[in-house]
Symmetry: C2
Subunit: 248 residues, 2 copies
DNA sequence: CAGTGGTCTAGACCACCAG
DNA sequence: TGGTGGTCTAGACCACTGA
């Protein structure tokens, strides 16, 4: 029983924090099934002693996994491996990455990539004065050769060196932003639905009036500056959003 | 500058943890604008000393707000109030609570509240053997007197004492579950869209073919048991999902 | 009652960043 | 170089749970 825990290798010379080494090891043990759902862990004090750590450090490792939903702790009871199959929450990742990781072979057609200036709602959403230079992107995203979504993005000019059409065809926008040194920090999203207009239907290979999923997103960097405002439409017949929630 | 911080009242006789008292006070100060976005906080050691706390406790209060996106910390730099207007993430709350808190005056019409047995997809989603007794709920949710959504839920029988129609008319399902001693822990959701059928349109006051938002949700308790499986439809013309994301 | 997690303390050393 | 947050220790007391 305890062998799987006391055998956790600890490298005190590593730059990786001790609590994180422990947490990662436990996470692997859980995902591999070595620690089955419902399994009871030894108590914090024992575990800390076995591993030669202080209790706060051991505790921090476990809390990290509790926050991610992999462990459940109860006072007076102990710590158990959670049963739920909750995947990781919808992340700050681009549609491109999601499609790649699910084997959907995405491609991108760049419809527009031009300089403009912020007016009206776009200026408001970007928290920029009217007339501020921006970049407008419009892309058509395909999965397995079929049109899937029309992506429209507005970015403050100057935040990022010019995005080349070639780069946009081969990577997601978020990866390009990160590569330019932008630290994505938070985003506010709105997901809704509406019927396709004639033009939208033609673009996406649907018929007029077909149901579309709509997603609006404002992304902020770690200083709270708006990095990007996007309004996207997805073919509801071919796409849906998956998300996981944990009770706070 | 520091007056707003050193004036934090601390009640050591309260059952509310010290770190949480501090965190709540700081959160109110941020939301009220007393601590403006971008404002620099004093360093952890000073704050702890001013409040008569240990550094770990002060740190824990700040970390709590960092995790929620209200503060941003950088080594060698300090701690600042984040600029973002990120609201709280989509929580494990019911539509009812959301409508109440936004002043939408919800009401509920209970269309069905009956015992049945799990078959096919419902059995699969609930992780129950075919034929297991379940309860089927179907409700029509109104906001400001207008139909908003059709909610259909499947629950394992016996998990909860019988839900009365009267109770369902006056509270959200989640609140009733919690009141029955169920600890909601996690949920997996799918959000999509499609066109309304004739019957759905009539029920919701739309026309056939109108865009509907669809939401499927499987909810787990803290032991990983499925508590509820729901398939809901929302009038896209009157409803959308808002969610916030933080980079991990 | 004994055992568990929840909170808190008062130090320590280190890694990173700015001037 | 001085100041910041990031990590870690070795204790302590309390609140809750179950037998």
């Amino acid at each position: 029983m305890s062998s799987s825990v006391s055998s956790i290798p600890i490298d005190r010379t590593s730059p990786v924090p001790l609590y994180f080494q422990i947490a990662q090891h436990l996470e692997r043990a859980i995902e591999s099934g070595e620690l089955a759902p419902g399994a009871q862990l030894e108590n914090e004090v024992h575990l800390a002693a076995q591993l030669g750590l202080s209790r706060p450090t051991m505790r921090r490792a476990m809390q990290y996994l509790v926050d991610r939903g992999l462990l459940v702790r109860k006072r007076g009871i102990g710590t158990q491996v959670a049963q739920s199959k909750v995947k990781r929450p919808l992340e700050l990742s681009s549609l491109w990455d999601d499609l790649v990781s699910s084997g959907q072979q995405p491609t991108t057609e760049v419809i527009a990539n031009e300089s403009s200036s912020a007016v009206g709602e776009v200026a408001h959403k970007l928290t920029l004065p009217e007339g501020t230079p921006i970049v407008v992107l419009e892309r058509l995203r395909y999965a397995r050769g079929e049109p899937l979504a029309r992506l429209r993005n507005y970015l403050p000019a100057g935040l990022v060196p010019a995005l080349t059409t070639g780069a946009l065809q081969q990577q997601g926008l978020y990866k390009l932003l990160r590569a330019s040194g932008v630290t994505l920090h938070a985003a506010a999203q709105t997901i809704g639905a509406r019927a396709a207009t004639q033009a939208e239907a033609r673009l996406l290979g649907e018929t007029k009036g077909a149901a579309l999923l709509t997603m609006e997103r404002i992304t902020y960097d770690d200083r709270g500056q708006v990095v990007e405002y996007g309004t996207h439409i997805y073919r509801a017949s071919r796409y849906f959003f998956e998300l996981s929630l944990l009770a706070h």
